[in-house]
Symmetry: C3
Subunit: 262 residues, 3 copies
């Protein structure tokens, strides 16, 4: 893992991250992408998604406020990304909460070659068909139930599974990398999961070719920014503001020092 | 009125508040719901709204950027909520400004059993067919033109009418409760009305069964948070940030002390 | 140019600015419109756009997350605005990036009488059919490549072209006004271009009848607010917050002193 090196390259290359995401977080994931040093673009019209993804370094699909027209756009963009070997991130927001979300996420996984599936343990376990009682379970290091969900989901779905929580677990089906950065205040604002998916897209675009490395490095970068945003925050509002400042100020050397992989 | 007790219960239960709302405020109402201590979910696809509302504690419908597909989803979700006895809040943003908004709000009121109608005096008066010249009129306590709009709208529409303004008035058609909390800076940012509707949904989900109490308690909680957010604010931007911090920091005992019902 | 006088009039009149804009920035442009002193309304349903624009002082069309239904609404609203002599601003976000965006912007320019086209040099050059190599080129005063793009686009498209960048250039085809206000941090957050288009709409509504003056005055106001927002900002997050505070605090006399037209 070389998160500092990837971050340095990302800021030199400024990759375009094409995001077809939900209405709730569009401004937030655009701003977090910019703060990181990459360039966001949001486009969902069937008339343009294939052309837009062709100039992007990564595609991020997020089903947080899905509807049928948007799902079609995600599938078209995903297939176009695959044809051009542009890495795809899927954020299956709410999979398990309704059948429509579960089925849509599975359909995308079936029809699109997804590089990284980034979700919480419940969402990822649902999609992998894993019986997971991970709620409230604190996992330690690269073992425990959440690590197991990541490893089994990666194996079953043929993706890198990036399972975020108090400790994050990223797996390609054989290795599991735990990322121990982050801060509880990240759970106090909406869309931090979606932000981490956008950052994952940017790291994939700038990475060394290993989706496992890029996904884990992205979570370390976001987690360290969260840690830096917490001091001085008086609650979720000021933490949210600080988070953009902290990500923009994230220093590659400091990131390498502070990243905690296990 | 026991706003502190309801807030305490809300934070223990963490009810899910299903919101079909406008594009302008989705992030803001999600974050205000989280800051309060409840859980937001946004979902508008016809394929899932009925299933989603089934796991929610309240449903909030907001027509701020309506279009026909969304209106259909609101109606379907509203009927499903009614069948499951899940309370429904309607925020008729812009009723009176265009016929489409007025007619849509009336259609929802006709087809869905709305527990609380939360709007400004002009919007609510329009829907109740009340001739109201409330613009610029400062109402005092539980009387005056705005109080009258609330009482008459509640009576005519069979809802609890929650009419917000410099002083808020909540009525079930017989009683009128005035809520005298709040701060002028709340009018300086967009979506504070929509936020108060989301908070009303959360209080309904956690309340004692009286929609009148829940609606008034919600406005007191939001108003006190607004009061606490103002000191130190340099304008609408910093006030907006402080508002989330203040709501997350809202203490039940302090809320009981500071709430001003008349 | 009398930006202070226009700002004073704007705050007295509080014009309604009807915006059909993109999902990413809706909250931000609504809040920037409010902070300036005007009133925003977002409405895109074909059932209401014509009626809504009839009560507005200006219409702002922005294609940042366009789709076919929204484009139809933009055209209908634009034609209704023209019939009522309500000025129209077009923000051609991403023109040149995909054919769909370029063709849609050209279609709007063809079917609607656009008062001000507000975009970056690449977007405006694309629409004007001008071969522009403006990327990275620092223009000085009212000459240089960006000034040329503005003048030629205004001439070719029959609009006031408002080309923003490190230095902004506004032209009606004969005169070119350079606006030298602003701050590099404005480029660190998403949607500042969209915000400047919303502000342009408000200035047109309150202006002296010259679209050239209104467009240049709007950019000066936004630029000075950006300058005032920068001190104390620790990054894009806190700058974003400060920007609303600074715009709300913008004093007309100070604006006249600080505005730098060339």
């Amino acid at each position: 893992m070389n998160p500092g090196e990837t971050l340095r390259r990302l800021r030199e290359q400024r990759p375009l991250v094409h995001q077809i995401t939900n209405y709730v977080v569009m401004n937030e994931t655009a701003n977090i992408t910019l703060a990181l040093g990459a360039l966001p673009v949001m486009a969902h019209a069937p008339e343009e998604v294939e052309e837009m993804v062709g100039i992007a370094g990564a595609l991020v699909l997020n089903i947080g406020t899905l509807s049928s027209g948007w799902v079609d756009a995600m599938l078209a963009a995903g297939r176009a990304a695959n044809a051009r070997e542009i890495p795809v991130v899927l954020d299956p927001v709410g999979a398990g909460a309704t059948r429509y979300r579960t089925e849509t996420a599975l359909k995308i996984l079936d029809e699109v070659d997804v590089a990284v599936l980034r979700g919480n343990a419940g969402e990822v376990a649902t999609l992998a068909g894993v019986e997971a009682e991970v709620r409230g379970v604190e996992s330690i290091g690269a073992s425990g139930p959440a690590a197991d969900v990541a490893r089994r989901a990666a194996d079953a779905l043929g993706v890198v599974a990036s399972v975020t929580g108090p400790i994050d677990h990223v797996s390609d089906g054989s290795r599991v990398v735990a990322v121990e950065n982050g801060h509880p205040l990240l759970a106090s604002i909406t869309g931090t999961g979606c932000m981490s998916s956008a950052i994952t897209g940017a790291f994939l675009a700038a990475g060394n070719g290993s989706a496992l490395d890029a996904a884990a490095e992205a979570l370390a970068a976001f987690g360290v920014a969260g840690e830096n945003a917490a001091p001085g925050a008086k609650g979720p509002g000021s933490f949210h503001v600080n988070l953009y400042d902290a990500l923009a100020a994230l220093d590659p050397a400091m990131l390498d020092e502070r990243a905690r992989f296990a």
